[in-house]
């Protein structure tokens, strides 16, 4: 459980300093990788079974292998790092960039070598001033170290506040100076990405894992974890736990252990009610579903996922309708507006949930809510609306009785004793047309 690769040595040393990082064999993996053919580096990462840590869990090496060889496509190749972490519940990339910036940069340089890119763009979330400043300082230290940079340029590109820019094609649009709206896929970024050139888009943690894979070798790395979920994962634990924070675990550690061992159990000795396992986009787990491994297959069996590894723990005071409202309001606010089912559907979800919470909803509106969810699912260009629908539908599915109680009693059984009562969300401050309400 205490296997640290990504965050290794960061507790004892100030790894934001180049000299300190070099003392723990920093940048030696880069030298090793540069001594290998690019294809050999890709093969090594394929063999390690590393899968993307951003949320989609796509095999990283395979993604790199999709990049056409220079003789197939004469355009320059780009590496774009998705550092636009904005998933409610996830704060791991924040800590990775702030504490092990050089390991992250080393991973970028190794990946650039593997996919034969000369330019790296790190799209960092606009709100992340702290990690941005750490990366600026780290890159400043690397100036004049052409033995490390070897002519590769790394540009830090700051976002400006839009969750959707974490979706890779929206990110590319935004990086091209446009509104961050997703593109149709295919073509995938590997074929037509930034400036219509072959582009690899990878997450921060994925990048910070690469040096360790090259250092210890794929075979050694793949000994960690469980089938289909090799290696380690930095998990963000928050909510009603004694010790919230980021913890690097071996994939397959039980969810119970995350909450009770690492997280120190529920605050105030209250009872656990539910856990959001992988950020707000994932299907919720009930208190009796936590004896499950934190890995792809185990969670898939419960129709949920590790997502971006944001574990949010909720105690028994929490109202699931209120949770639904807050989550739905988030997606309503963050919908880019391009696809109608998401733009309109998320707003309908919020309105129906609000009626339920107020005790105004009639029986059929519970089904209407699930119907709206169905009408978003699979009908948009990107997963934003879909994940909102899946998450909220899972609250209804797993806590149906509680939703029914809101209808039957004509009131919220929790009211203001739930910590999620009447939370002001940014979207609630927008002026909406008063005529467009849900018909009774």
């Amino acid at each position: 459980m205490a296997t640290e690769l990504v965050l290794a040595d960061a507790r004892d040393r100030d790894l934001t300093k180049l000299a300190e990082y070099e003392e723990v064999a920093g940048y030696t993996a880069l030298a090793k990788a540069r001594g290998m053919e690019p294809q050999a580096v890709i093969d090594e990462v394929v063999a390690s079974e590393l899968r993307g840590r951003g949320g989609a869990f796509f095999p990283a090496g395979r993604k790199w292998a999709f990049i056409p060889k220079p003789d197939q496509n004469p355009n320059p190749h780009y590496l774009v790092v998705n550092a636009d972490e904005s998933e409610p519940g996830s704060f791991k990339d924040n800590e990775i960039m702030a504490t092990v910036p050089h390991r992250f940069i080393e991973g970028c340089l190794i990946t650039a070598h593997a996919v034969e890119a000369r330019q790296v763009f790190v799209y960092i979330r606009g709100e992340y001033t702290g990690p941005y400043e750490v990366l600026v300082a780290a890159l400043e230290e690397l100036k004049g170290r052409d033995d490390l940079l070897s002519g590769v340029t790394i540009v830090l590109h700051r976002g400006a506040g839009a969750y959707i820019c974490g979706e890779e094609t929206a990110l590319l649009e935004s990086l091209e100076g446009k509104r961050g709206q997703p593109r149709t896929k295919p073509p995938f970024p590997a074929v037509e990405g930034l400036y219509r050139s072959p582009t690899v888009v990878n997450n921060v943690e994925t990048m910070a894992t690469v040096p360790q894979i090259i250092r210890v070798g794929a075979a050694e790395y793949a000994k960690l974890g469980v089938p289909d979920s090799r290696g380690t994962r930095v998990v963000s634990i928050s909510g009603h736990v004694q010790r919230p924070g980021n913890y690097e675990i071996e994939n397959g550690t039980s969810v119970r252990s995350l909450i009770y061992d690492l997280g120190g159990g529920i605050t105030g000795d209250r009872a656990l009610k539910a856990v959001i396992p992988g950020g707000s986009s994932t299907v919720i787990l009930r208190y009796d579903e936590i004896d499950v491994g934190y890995d792809f297959n185990s969670l898939l069996a419960l129709k949920t996922a590790m997502g971006s590894a944001g574990v949010v723990v909720l105690d028994d005071r929490c109202c699931m309708v209120q949770l639904g409202i807050r989550i739905s309001e988030f997606y309503e606010h963050e919908s880019c507006g391009k696809c109608t089912p998401c733009r309109e559907g998320t707003r309908w979800m919020t309105q129906i949930l609000r009626r339920l919470e107020a005790g105004d909803a009639e029986q059929h509106e519970l089904d209407l809510l699930l119907d709206v969810c169905d009408r978003i699912n699979g009908k948009c260009l990107c997963p934003l609306g879909e994940t909102a629908a899946i998450a909220v539908a899972s609250y209804v599915d797993k806590f149906r009785g509680e939703f029914q109680q809101h209808v039957d009693e004509g009131a919220c059984p929790f009211g203001d004793s739930s910590p999620l009562h009447n939370v002001l969300a940014p979207v609630a401050m927008h002026t909406h047309s008063p005529v467009a309400t849900v018909p009774a």
């Binding site: 709100e127 700051r158 091209e176 924070g245």
Partner: protein
């Protein structure tokens, strides 16, 4: 040529395609003008070699870019789930009380704008309050008067 013009030319050189300098240029223009006023958009567009309309179309998409005046200081309280679970709403309300305004408003003297914001990516250190884009962690309602005092006295 304005200072912004010179800085934007340098930004454009960081990218293979000048369009990519749009967001950093808008950020700079906003820092200089306080918000993206018509003048700021015009200056930004001139520096980029495009039109103010295109700059405004892009800016209107992003939460951190402001097309209306904001206070000299910005206080943003994360009210997403993880922060809300440990009392973010109470922190927001305490700010409203101390500043004498509602969330979404700016103090009459134009000093402080207060607003709730979506997940700031600090869920384990809740409640997160971003003060002039620097995070304060573990903020409790009782910490609010000191933060407000700091904003009112310093610059």
């Amino acid at each position: 040529m304005s200072e912004l013009y010179t800085e934007v030319q340098r930004l454009k050189e960081s990218y293979p395609d000048w369009h990519s300098a749009m967001l950093p240029a808008l950020r700079l223009a906003q820092e200089k003008h306080g918000y993206l006023s018509p003048d700021a958009l015009r200056e930004c567009a001139d520096a980029l070699g495009t039109t103010p309309a295109i700059c405004e179309a892009v800016a209107s998409f992003y939460d951190m870019l402001h097309l209306r005046p904001i206070g000299r200081h910005m206080v943003e309280v994360c009210t997403n789930v993880s922060c809300a679970l440990v009392g973010a709403q109470q922190v927001l309300e305490r700010f409203e009380q101390e500043l004498g305004i509602s969330a979404g408003e700016t103090t009459p003297d134009g000093e402080v704008t207060l607003r709730p914001i979506e997940c700031l990516g600090g869920c384990g250190w809740a409640t997160i309050v971003s003060v002039d884009h620097h995070y304060r962690t573990h903020v409790q309602p009782e910490d609010v008067p000191e933060i407000v005092q700091e904003l009112r006295s310093g610059d």
